[in-house]
């Protein structure tokens, strides 16, 4: 490292790096926040981002389960070259919902699609789901009080919708 400046423990080159950076103002930060949030209004950006995220999740699952590309291609019934194009988001590949559902299933995952309002987010909680069975006869006695059969108890919903932001980012539990 270079000589340290007298006034700081930071080497001169790194001090210059920070001193040469733009002074951040609230107006600048607000402008950056707005530009970042507006990216979601671009359908092609959002689609590319979701495709990229999907591919990364597939590769994460492959690593966790010890599935090679050759093995996944074999299970899928496609060539390794085709799978490689999918995993590199080649534009020649058609990313249909069917493709995504098939691939997810082959690596032990599932896909869910949620339509949200712009100010909503989803957060996935991994927990046990206990279906509550309702006798068919009970429904006919009082349809208002009895939920549909096999509905998950609200306390165990696997996906939570919420509005606004979480102040503290939450890690998914393993």
């Amino acid at each position: 490292m270079n000589n340290k400046s007298k006034d700081s423990a930071l080497p001169d080159d790194l001090l210059a790096l920070f001193q040469g950076a733009r002074k951040l103002t609230q107006a600048n930060l607000d402008k950056l926040a707005k530009a970042t949030e507006e990216l979601d209004q671009d359908p092609s950006f959002r689609a590319e981002y979701l495709k990229g995220l999907f591919v990364e999740h597939i590769q994460e699952a492959m690593e966790q389960k010890g599935i090679s590309q050759s093995e996944l291609a074999r299970r899928w019934g496609k060539s390794r070259q085709y799978l490689s194009r999918v995993l590199s988001e080649d534009r020649r590949v058609n990313f249909t919902i069917e493709t995504m559902v098939e691939l997810a299933g082959l690596v032990g995952r599932k896909i869910e699609v949620h339509m949200l309002n712009p100010d909503e987010n989803t957060h996935v909680l991994r927990c046990k789901v206990t279906p509550r069975r309702v006798s068919p006869l009970d429904r006919f006695k009082d349809p208002q009080s009895s939920p549909a059969p096999n509905v998950c108890h609200p306390e165990f919903q696997a996906t939570t919708r919420f509005k606004g932001r979480i102040d503290d980012a939450t890690r998914l539990s393993a």
Binding site: L10, D30, L32, T36, Y49, V55, Q59
Partner: protein, 136 residues
């Protein structure tokens, strides 16, 4: 040392479920945020590509696609990475900090074709060392 960690404006918590993404700052100045501001103003295509990578970074253990994230192959630059604008020029350097809050910390940047990748990795590596030492 006086380092601060700043949020990346506009990145949602739901996009940071695995790693919190932060920018390293000193006295209110952050090379990483400064670069993002500049790219948002004058290199919009690269800005979009880098933001796509930052969103993905926060949600997976590691980004596999080397067109998006590349780890330095130089053993002297241990633990340093660059987020890349795929088919673009913008590069944002970062490192992971697993010890406390699972952070991705963006440090500095360079512009492919104009900047020096080795120097950028070295600066990121030096900042990583200094930051990790400065933690209580």
């Amino acid at each position: 040392m006086g380092f601060e960690l700043l949020e990346i404006p506009g990145l949602k918590a739901s996009e940071q479920t695995r790693w919190k993404i932060r920018a390293l700052a000193l006295d209110g100045r952050s090379p990483a945020l400064g670069a993002l501001l500049e790219w948002q103003e004058s290199e919009k295509a690269d800005f979009k590509k880098i933001m796509k990578v930052l969103r993905m970074l926060g949600q997976v253990p590691r980004v596999h696609d080397e067109k998006k994230v590349k780890k330095s192959s130089n053993p002297d630059h241990e633990g340093t990475y660059e987020a890349r604008a795929d088919k673009g020029h913008a590069r944002l350097m970062f490192f992971y900090c697993e010890e406390d809050e699972s952070l991705v910390i963006c440090t500095n940047h360079y512009w492919k074709g104009r900047g020096n990748q080795n120097m950028a990795f070295k600066q990121c590596s030096d900042l990583r060392t200094l930051y990790l030492k400065s933690r209580p």
